[in-house]
Symmetry: C2
Subunit: 352 residues, 2 copies
């Protein structure tokens, strides 16, 4: 029986609370399936690790992770550490080192949830964001000039490569083929006149390989209004690192909030481990209270199962989540209930 | 009697159609007030000008505009001209040359309109976006490397100066003082680790001058969810050029769409002319049909009156717009009606 080794990085804030429920559900799903094993190693890399060691993970952290089949992460960030330090020493190096160039973020209204959009229902809200996850605006090229003077400034350079754009564009176009055949590309070619026309141009050059897919370009400002006004027109949304970050939170908002929004940081070739984590952050304000919604983390775990080659158990986990939400009795506060994080995890296990 | 000279740039697409109604309403409001005069010069600078002259405006366009008290613009952009060319030769140079460092974009649900947000009403939707409008991500520093090779790339550098951040931050903080005393700052200090921590730092240094204003920092991804989930918590939103662009379209979406969203590109010191234009674009798909909603343009005209020192007539125009919307009989298609652009303009004039 095949064993997958999973590195669990619970992280900060509500991360450990939601990841605990996720692992519980993954174990239950694995036992039920009976066709593979998961082995979890817990890695205590987070902001308290930083306070003790002056870094977010060991020097050879990336090397250690390379040996795993998957990475399951909670959330990173604590008010005690500047957030550009915490993420640039943990999440972002993992995404980049392991060529997790697809950040896949489904935005789907689950049965039992109501959208905050007045006239929209489940059939209107089922799209997926494909976010470029290794380059673009998230670059560490930059710095400050003339500190302490009136002409002080900070600069930062976005970098878009043909290599980086082509691979994520091809992924999005193939994905659309397996869905409803439409890709909405987020651009800002009018305002960002060097990088964005290039982004569009490379995507146009890939598009000829997918004559059956319908590709439209939208300025990101206009596209964000579609998320609110006409989400039913969306199928696959292809976006840069930064635009994908914003649009996926917005996507989460229109389908019930960050408590239910999963993500996979995927290396499609499986040359390197992929990383699965909820879209939400560490939410220090509610950490330690046992009230965080674990559904985003549980669903991210299901995405990991699918990526590891187990689509059936993955689908069962999503069905179990939907059953719990549809019954409506066990819900955390963000969804109008009073249940604890643990009670939601238990309910999903029972529904399995 | 004081005369204000206004440069009218109708622009492309629906621009001329909506600007015509705006000027009609401005003339009616001026006649009613009887305390000042407006003199309009129509400047045909747009994409057809570009096709004839190879540029969007004359060489001395900025010099010509300098003589005016205000600029009233429709929209710019036509499929025949790459959009980074059209905007970088017209709107963006005007914003930058005239130090219109505040792009002021009210997001307010007018009487008679329904928000697309299920549980939100007029009292929940009344905030204003202050967008930095001269620097940041909208820079022309960048280019391409290794064209035609597999390692081809495009780069672009954002530039944030202390000078640029301080002036817009002070504007936003003072504005909050005259409103409900709260500023939500859009940042992305975790991901964009050079420029955004600097943006935050400069804003924090200005904030001490405004101890009575409550300032909160939100990552732009999380902030975009507040626009949908808890807009009632927003008062003044302070954002960079790019984030303000996205958030103001999103703000428009939650209060009824781009058809009703006005904007002022303001030089608060009045050393240079300010420019007023709807948030919407040139909408080539509906241009020439007479069905575009002129309300955003009319409201932008009202903002110009206010900026020119005539708050009473400005308020009357907004009241007239609200009356027409509340009556509900004369509406363009985007608001569920069948009226033409001209009929809406006429109705607003009658309501005055
Ligand atoms: C036309 C374009 C450059 C412009 C911008 O991005 O500033 C527009 O979207 C706006 O919001 O005024
Ligand atoms: C923590 C932060 C750097 C991260 C991002 O911006 O990518 C987060 O917002 C996300 O969406 O995963």
């Amino acid at each position: 029986m095949r064993t997958h080794r999973i590195a669990v990085i619970p992280g900060d804030g509500i991360g450990p609370e939601v990841v605990r429920e996720g692992v519980k559900v993954l174990e239950a799903a694995t036992t039920r399936a009976g066709t593979f094993r998961l082995e979890f190693d817990w890695l205590p890399w987070n902001c308290s690790y930083y306070r003790r060691h002056g870094r977010m993970m060991p020097k050879d952290g990336i090397e250690q992770l390379r040996a795993y089949d998957g990475i399951y992460l909670g959330a990173v960030g604590d008010p005690s550490v500047p957030d550009h330090v915490s993420v640039w020493q943990l999440i972002l190096p993992i995404r980049k080192a392991f060529q997790q160039y697809v950040n896949l973020r489904p935005a789907k209204l689950l049965a039992g949830l109501e959208s905050p959009l007045r006239h929209k229902e489940a059939r209107d809200l089922d799209f997926v964001i494909v976010r470029e996850n290794t380059e673009g605006e998230y670059s560490d090229i930059g710095g400050r000039l003339h500190p302490g003077t009136p002409v002080e400034m900070a600069v930062q350079t976005s970098v878009f490569t043909r290599y980086g754009i082509e691979r994520v564009a091809r992924y999005a176009l193939s994905l659309a083929r397996r869905r409803r055949g439409r890709v909405a590309v987020a651009t800002k070619s009018n305002g960002l006149a060097h990088t964005m026309p290039y982004w569009d141009e490379v995507i146009r050059s890939c598009r000829v390989e997918f004559p059956d897919v319908d590709v439209s370009f939208y300025h990101v400002d206009a596209l964000s209004t579609l998320f609110v006004l006409r989400p039913e027109t969306l199928d696959v949304v292809l976006a840069t690192n930064l635009f994908g970050d914003i649009l996926s939170d917005l996507g989460a908002a229109v389908v019930g909030g960050l408590g239910v929004a999963p993500a996979g940081n995927i290396n499609p070739e499986k040359r390197f481990p992929s990383m699965f984590e909820p879209v939400h952050g560490s939410a220090p304000d509610i950490a330690g209270k046992g009230i965080a919604n674990p559904i985003a983390a549980i669903w991210s775990g299901a995405m990991m199962l699918e990526h590891l080659g187990h689509p059936e158990p993955a689908a069962e986990v999503v069905r179990a989540i939907e059953q719990v939400l549809a019954e409506g009795r066990v819900r955390t506060r963000d969804l109008g209930g009073t249940a604890s994080t643990e009670e939601v995890g238990d309910a999903v296990v029972r529904a399995l």
